[in-house]
């Protein structure tokens, strides 16, 4: 609600009041506002991005659940969607992208490769799961997952946001 960098005593007190008196209803309202306006950065690393095309297309249309399918600048986005394999050349760039996103931010790892390395678990160039470099909120498994699973992953993320504390 109120950022850490806010100076001044009044604001600090306001933060305390908000936290102790109206914490729960406010938390609900803020989180409710967040869950239907998720802006994704999709890192179309590998083959799962083919199914992302279907998810943002007319049949599955992820915008019905409150996530944009289209693009935006990553400094305005709050969900990082990792679609597929991350290799050793890409890993520092992924971390750089994550660091540039503003708080609060969430990460969805999609596909067996992003979750655990998948088919390429013994490759010399592939990371064994993206959680070795980033904190991951939701894992969507499958190689590639069906579009329904993408949507299930999104709904799981929304439930997680709704039950989490405001930052």
């Amino acid at each position: 609600m109120v950022g850490d960098a806010e100076p001044g005593v009044l604001v600090g007190k306001l933060k305390d009041i908000l936290q102790y008196s109206v914490k729960d209803p406010l938390k609900y309202v803020i989180n409710w506002g967040r869950i239907y306006s998720l802006w994704p950065v999709h890192l179309e690393t590998a083959c799962c991005s083919v199914e992302w095309g279907a998810v943002s297309g007319p049949r599955f249309d992820i915008e019905r659940w409150g996530m944009l399918g289209a693009f935006g600048s990553l400094r305005q986005c709050d969900v990082l969607i990792i679609l597929g394999t991350i290799n050793r050349k890409m890993a520092p760039r992924v971390r750089m992208i994550y660091d540039q996103m503003p708080e609060p931010k969430y990460v969805i790892a999609i596909g067996a490769c992003a979750c655990s390395g998948g088919l390429y678990f013994d490759s010399y160039s592939v990371l064994p799961g993206v959680d070795t470099i980033l904190p991951v909120d939701i894992y969507v498994t499958g190689c590639p997952p069906r579009p329904e699973q993408f949507i299930q992953g999104l709904v799981m993320l929304q439930n997680k946001i709704l039950s989490s504390n405001i930052r």
Binding site: E44, A46, E51, G53, A54, S123, Y124, C143
Partner: protein, 361 residues
């Protein structure tokens, strides 16, 4: 002359991870150097630790919306070394699946072309129509995109009979839609201005650089592996090879559009000609490849894909070299992009149909 060097990518919206180091003079591109390798997964090395069946899902994942064509060339190489003759029905089912995949891949291409020229209706329509053909492929192979369907010695399972009726219906519908696409994209004055005469790849350059697939045919060279080196039953089917002499962005998109019509023609003929019978040779559970070397090629949706297989008679390939069409088209990028304004770069870059996952292997 002072120039500015910028990096386009590697977090690339639209088509996987890939970096172009672009040198600009004002607004004009002086030089564009591709920097691939952000999706390198070491497929060739991994192939030496997996047996011939386990390699199938691996090589499919190089171009997932083109999975059957990726496998077609590999299976051609393996079957050539095993001296294996597949049943005729299996050959026809393979061709049907390969052409369905070509339609799926070309529709994806059209959709991303729409994104890159800022035309979001042109993204939504092809992605919606693509589901028709995905449904057909799903009826035959049981999966949406990754089929692992073409195996050495035939195909995994037989095709249900309802496919014939449904495919006819889908082709009839889609032919009407292609007319709409022409109105919406190809004859759209906005797209014509951004694509006609932009990003020209001359015939000499295309031959010299070894460009393959629709990019080559848009530059005026009539080369298609299906016709020039026929595999499977392509020599029994009647289809045209669309060729344009312009070599610009518009011509490359046009070749994709025309190829979709030809793919539907092939599917219709194959469904009429398909005989009954078995769909696979019983290999008794294991693919045993005798020592030797073989070369298999096929026309994937982006161009010619070829595999060079060396076997020492063991369970695993001794060496498997893959040359993918995207990798061969990447070298044309500096020649295509040189001299255009930066704003024209996205559609011209994508018109080469560069798919980093496939190029990096």
């Amino acid at each position: 002359m002072s120039t500015l060097t910028i990096s386009v990518g590697p977090q690339h919206p639209g088509s996987g991870h890939f970096r172009l180091i672009v040198t600009l003079d004002g607004d004009r591109i002086v030089d564009a150097i591709p920097d691939p390798g952000y999706v390198h997964r070491g497929e060739e090395k991994l192939a030496e630790y997996r047996n011939y069946i386990q390699n199938i899902p691996h090589f499919e994942r190089m171009g997932l919306h083109d999975a059957n064509n990726m496998m077609f060339a590999y299976v051609n190489a393996v079957e050539h070394l095993m001296d294996l003759k597949v049943p005729e029905r299996a050959d026809y089912i393979r061709v049907i699946m390969a052409e369905l995949n070509r339609l799926i891949a070309h529709l994806y291409y059209t959709a991303i072309t729409g994104i890159f020229v800022g035309h979001s209706t042109m993204f939504m329509w092809p992605v919606g129509d693509r589901e028709l053909f995905i449904d057909l492929a799903q009826m035959i192979a049981g999966q949406r995109v990754s089929y692992a369907f073409i195996l050495p010695g035939g195909v995994r399972n037989d095709m249900p009979e309802e496919v014939k009726k449904k495919a006819e219906k889908a082709c009839d519908y889609f032919e009407k839609r292609l007319v709409e696409y022409d109105k919406l994209l190809m004859n759209n004055p906005l797209f014509e201005r951004r694509a006609k005469g932009v990003g020209i790849l001359t015939k000499q350059d295309a031959i010299r650089l070894g460009v393959v697939g629709p990019a080559l045919r848009a530059s005026g060279v009539k080369f298609d592996v299906r016709r020039n080196d026929p595999y499977s039953v392509y020599d029994r089917l009647d289809f045209d090879i669309p060729v344009s002499n312009d070599g610009d962005t518009w011509a490359r998109v046009w070749v994709h559009m025309e190829e979709m019509k030809q793919s539907m023609r092939i599917i219709r003929q194959a469904l009429k000609q398909i005989p009954t019978g078995p769909v696979k040779v019983n290999l008794r559970g294991q693919v045993r490849v005798p020592p030797g070397e073989s070369f298999g090629r096929a026309e994937a949706s982006r161009g010619e894909i070829s595999y060079y297989l060396v076997s020492d008679g063991g369970r695993f390939p001794y060496r498997l070299r893959v040359i993918t069409p995207s990798f061969r088209n990447m070298i044309a990028m500096p020649y295509v992009l040189k001299g255009m304004v930066l704003a024209d770069m996205p559609p011209s870059y994508w018109s080469l149909d560069y798919w980093p996952v496939e190029a990096d292997r």
